[in-house]
Symmetry: C2
């Protein structure tokens, strides 16, 4: 079997990941420790994800805003668990404008504190609720073992922050975001099947009462936490004094949520669908959905290629022309394959003499000789079906690596290779510690049928999905 220019997944998955990121020109390491340069191909994927997420966030009623990068150190200390959780990861500005600052400024690791200091001004009456705000921003969490897209000192994300009149409203909104924004985008657009559930106390967000999560399985069987939605209760409302006059004239603290997904999703796409030849992009997230390659230059080849590009663009697809014939055709094919472009249309003099071109479907690696007049239909078919096929393939792979376990020992065995599903009660009181000895953690808790836990469910009867993770 012909291989691309990269190591196989089976041989060395972490190296394969790095080589795909580098080979597809998605990202580079930045000069400061753990930082990342997102190159146009990686950023183009992120922009398409952003658009999908942003539309859904707006449909859920949240409005975009922007809060400062710098947070006075004292703000962070107002919520005890929160500062404890983030303190080891902070970057601190001590000098500004040529002088030492009186109070150091923290570069935001997340924005609960600064946003809630404004919520306390903006919320006065029950008429101001719910207050639904989102921001697209960079955040910084010092990272000692960086990995491009997965763990970087600086990353890009969206963070939503909301305030509600009741705990029920806040919970319903946290779950709405989890389902209608995150799960839907991950499954329908990224084509990555995610499990949803909530985190154990050990794994939840610093300052939250409950953290809901979307967990995907990557190509090596490990879990990736792809997005979280938190119920913050009144944990920030009290120290930040976010209160409102209720309808009966009294004064109540608000109930809050926060939720975020990041450029980590680009890493999920690579590890969720990549094969030994590189990235495989769902058409919805491909910066170029089709590349038309001129195999060898000749006037009739160029005019046929130009006409195809025009026709495919007219049909609404994102199309690139590759006419760099001073680079070998083989090299260029491998590069586009590495980049994961869903369809390649190869136009060469020999095929063209018979009125044909070659259409290559990336995710199935199938080549087909197609008559010029049928290229539009052939491309449209691939673009309409590739996303669902990638999702089906990823779902089957995940299910094949998911095992029902009856004991901690069984959970450890299965969780080392994929996911184990085990009743939380069966893990015992020190279950998470014992899993941790094998580098396994509880990714989420669900009802046995895979649905979300409801108020009143006994924790011990819930199923823990356990596995190794990024």
């Amino acid at each position: 079997m012909t291989k691309g220019a990269i190591v196989s997944r089976a041989e060395d998955f972490p190296r394969w990941y790095q080589e795909v990121i580098a080979g597809a020109e998605m990202a580079d390491n930045g000069p400061a420790r753990g930082t990342m340069v997102i190159r146009p191909w990686g950023y183009g994927i992120w922009e398409l994800m952003q658009a999908e997420l942003d539309r859904r966030i707006k449909e859920a009623g949240a409005e975009n805003a922007y809060f400062p990068l710098f947070i006075p150190e004292s703000f962070l200390k107002l919520e005890a668990e929160h500062v404890e959780g983030f303190a080891p990861e902070l970057a601190v500005v001590t000098h500004g404008g040529g002088k030492e600052l009186e109070e150091p400024l923290v570069v935001r690791p997340t924005s609960e504190t600064v946003i809630n200091s404004f919520f306390s001004k903006w919320v006065q009456s029950h008429r101001d609720l719910p207050l639904l705000v989102n921001q697209w921003a960079n955040v910084v969490r010092w990272e000692l073992r960086p990995r491009l897209f997965l763990r970087t000192t600086e990353f890009l994300w969206q963070e939503g922050h909301t305030a509600h009149a009741t705990e029920e409203d806040a919970r319903a909104y946290a779950l709405r975001i989890l389902d209608e924004v995150y799960r839907t985008t991950m499954v329908d657009i990224l084509g990555v099947p995610v499990l949803t559930g909530h985190k154990t106390a050990r794994e939840r967000f610093a300052g939250a009462n409950r953290t809901w999560t979307c967990e995907g399985m990557m190509g090596d069987g490990k879990a990736l936490q792809m997005g979280t939605s938190h119920e913050l209760g009144q944990n920030f409302a009290r120290p930040f004094d976010i209160a409102f006059s209720n309808a009966s004239g009294g004064r109540d603290y608000v109930w809050q949520t926060s939720w975020g997904v990041s450029t980590r999703l680009v890493g999920a796409l690579v590890m969720g669908h990549g094969d030994d030849f590189g990235l495989r992009l769902p058409p919805a997230l491909a910066p170029a959905q089709v590349v038309v390659l001129i195999v060898k230059d000749a006037p009739e080849v160029r005019s046929a290629a130009d006409a195809l590009v025009a026709e495919l663009r007219q049909a609404g697809h994102r199309v690139r022309l590759d006419d760099r014939t001073d680079t070998s055709f083989g090299r260029r094919s491998v590069d586009w394959e590495l980049k994961g472009v869903p369809v390649r249309v190869e136009v060469g003099p020999r095929d063209l003499a018979e009125g044909n071109v070659t259409v290559v479907t990336r995710h199935r690696r199938e080549k087909e000789n197609v008559a010029l007049g049928s290229v539009g239909a052939a491309v449209a078919t691939v673009l309409a079906t590739a996303g669902a096929e990638l999702l089906a393939e990823a779902t089957a792979a995940r299910d094949a690596r998911t095992v029902e376990a009856g004991s901690l020992a069984e959970a450890v065995e299965a969780g080392s290779e994929g996911f184990a599903r085990v009743r939380l009660g069966a893990l015992g009181p020190d279950g998470e510690d014992r899993l941790a000895e094998h580098a396994i953690s509880v990714r989420c808790l669900q009802r046995p049928d895979g649905s979300l836990a409801q108020v009143g469910d006994a924790e011990d009867d819930l199923v823990a999905v356990v596995g190794r993770s990024y």
Copy 2:
């Protein structure tokens, strides 16, 4: 004349500006010195500007990417003028992950240095040129006299960075951005007439050979620099070693450009079009283009309002329903006027009994009684014409405050109230110093007919547009 809740422009323009920003809920001061919270109304305007700019940037062939926030201090020192220009404005991270850093990290004030360190890896051959990259990002420049949107310690912007094989190519690209991206967006979309030209050596970007600029006149006669496009020559290419093998096998340094516009444009919109009742938004940049107000609640009023909202949305407009009848109608009208929504449709029981509603055109402050069936057409007309009318009004106001001056004394007199146009040679060798004594600067240099200077033009024969500025 009935006034809004704000001071008049004539009485106190700076206070008027602050009151519009606050009253329209566009932004707040952040907790750290000079930082800003951009609230949903202000951010919504910025998002619409971003989309217009981003589309044009992509049409000009540049691709979006993202480079790190943190730049090692040593990088900044590689270009002497550059570091000298930015040193007093830097914010510096000295601690990360709980430890003091070996090398302090600068929070980017602009990204020439970090981006060019990557260009030196990515550019090898003439085939890699031109390299056209843009990023949307936050930057930090310590600000002692902050002003929301105009001068803030942190601001949002786009910065483009390009590398070309020849000086001519670089110049042509800098001018293409200036004209096809910046001037076009400012004039056609913001409705702010801008003068274009280049900066004197005193005013140009630290590290540039030539800085091209777009200068608008605000409502108080002062200039606002709204966007700049720089020819960097080989000033960064040499220290960062960005070189390529040319077609004849030799090795050349690249020629570069950089260019940026920022959230300052939101300030330009406020000061360019605002009146004594608040903001006036061109429809293209209005987060809500139409607000349908329920004057007083009643079943027939609500159903008429709902039907109008549906009809106007169907027509493709951005529409909000204001049914907050527990707040007085007068208060709500004033608020929407402050926010600058182009059209208000007021639905009340009395008018409705006669089959009418009131349509209010914000920028002309005209009210009209309109039959229900004609609302769609009336709204469409306002939305189609308001942008051009605002541009015409701003152009007339600017032209009325622009004077041809024959001497430095005349330039000082006219430049204190608006723009003076004076032959650069007439200002004499210490002209800029003498203007500065009156807080006046050269905003740009042009040919006498207002067109851009060409290679070979004698500087002294160019016209200096001088005035006070933000």
